[in-house]
């Protein structure tokens, strides 16, 4: 992940739910009030929430906020992914679904979550590859189109690579035949 990576920056812009553990009177602008009270629930972008959750002033002070998993990684979504990874349009959850998930796994120790995500990616990647290969012949249509619309950014990149690969190989074989 590069400092200048546009996708990484946009992933960092995704919001996660947080809960403040102490009063901060000067940060009222975060939720349009006159001052933040302890216990306020707030959606903060990842770049802010991460630093905040890890920060603590003084030796034995606890972090000022508690993070929880964003809605795109909620119980319902995970249950649906466990049932059939291909049936869930990940893009509706978050355009940077895997990116956010990876960042969250850095902060949370969730064995089960990572297992589900790994399985999801593997199962869906096979389908993405299949569609990338067939997109040329059949054109987009029917169920395939719906699946492709639900791809998150990682999977889109995968699709594009696969598609370019197939196209490049085809061009090459055509050239060889010609000459």
């Amino acid at each position: 992940m590069s400092y200048y990576d546009v996708d990484a920056i946009l992933t960092d812009g995704e919001k996660v739910p947080c809960r403040f553990e102490l009063d901060v009177p000067y940060l009222g602008h975060l939720d349009n009030s006159s001052g933040l009270k302890a216990g306020t629930r707030l959606n903060l972008p990842l770049w802010l929430a991460e630093m905040f959750a890890l920060a603590s002033a003084g030796q034995d002070a606890s972090p000022p906020i508690t993070l929880s998993l964003p809605p795109c990684l909620s119980e319902q979504v995970l249950a649906a992914l466990k049932a059939d990874p291909r049936a869930v349009p990940l893009r509706d959850q978050s355009a940077y679904f895997y990116g956010v998930a990876v960042r969250m796994l850095d902060l949370f120790d969730e064995k089960e979550l990572s297992a589900i995500l790994r399985n999801t990616f593997v199962v869906r990647a096979a389908d993405v590859g299949l569609h990338a290969r067939k997109a040329e012949e059949t054109g987009l249509g029917g169920q395939g189109e719906e699946f492709l619309r639900g791809l998150d950014e990682w999977e889109r990149r995968l699709f594009r690579r696969g598609h370019e690969g197939v196209k490049g190989a085809k061009e090459w074989t055509d050239n060889v035949k010609k000459s």
């Binding site: 901060v24 975060l30 905040f52 003084g58």
Partner: protein, 217 residues
């Protein structure tokens, strides 16, 4: 919310990556983000003023965390600004290597954008005559000079030439824009619009890349 403008800028950058041309420079947005950074910095100064340099974070946590938020927001904005400009300069470098006349190209785009803007009502930039900022134009010019100096070391190899080996020595070309008179081994030819020539490919490769000529197959 701090950082929202930065996100907008990065979304522009993301769109730019997938475009063949360079969209107009977001002067207003860049100015707004830098203004936000300046405001944040002023807030930090105001907060720290009463302490006269002897601030202890563990004593006043609320202020410590406010400073943290402001600091991270400034860093975030900086990253957004840098990423936006880097995406654009990458694109510009690519255009220079491809031999596109960038200044000429940007003028053309603005005309195109002006035509489409009338129908869609999208306001972009501040209506200047180029889709590049003055700094970017400067950058392109100096980068072009650098590239020319670099190429000058190997005069017998055209570093920005096509990697495809030519199939024929001579090709048919049609003139899309008046390009004046050029000198070839076989004498001078005057390229006037809409005329057609049978010329040596090596003589006109540059002009094809710059969009003056069109190759006929």
């Amino acid at each position: 919310m701090y950082g929202d403008l930065g996100i907008k800028l990065v979304q522009h950058a993301k769109r730019t990556q997938n475009l063949a041309h360079l969209p107009p420079y977001q002067t207003e947005l860049v100015r707004a983000v830098t203004r936000e950074v300046r405001d944040l910095n002023k807030d930090v100064d105001d907060l720290l003023e009463p302490f006269q340099g002897s601030f202890d974070p563990s004593e006043d946590q609320a202020i410590a965390y406010t400073l943290l938020v402001n600091h991270i927001s400034m860093r975030r904005n900086k990253r957004c600004l840098l990423a936006y400009h880097r995406t654009r300069t990458d694109k510009l470098e690519e255009l220079v290597w491809n031999g596109v006349d960038v200044v000429d190209l940007s003028g053309q785009q603005v005309r195109d954008a002006g035509a489409s803007r009338g129908s869609t009502g999208v306001a972009s930039g501040d209506g200047s005559t180029s889709s590049l900022s003055p700094q970017e134009e400067d950058y392109v010019r100096q980068y072009g000079d650098l590239l020319a100096a670099y190429k000058g070391q190997w005069t017998d190899i055209d570093l920005t030439g096509s990697l495809e080996p030519p199939r024929d020595l001579f090709i048919d070309v049609r003139v899309l824009k008046d390009a004046g008179e050029i000198q070839t081994e076989y004498g001078a030819i005057t390229l006037t619009k809409n005329s057609q020539f049978y010329v040596r490919q090596g003589d006109v490769e540059r002009l094809i890349a710059q969009g003056y000529l069109q190759k006929l197959s």
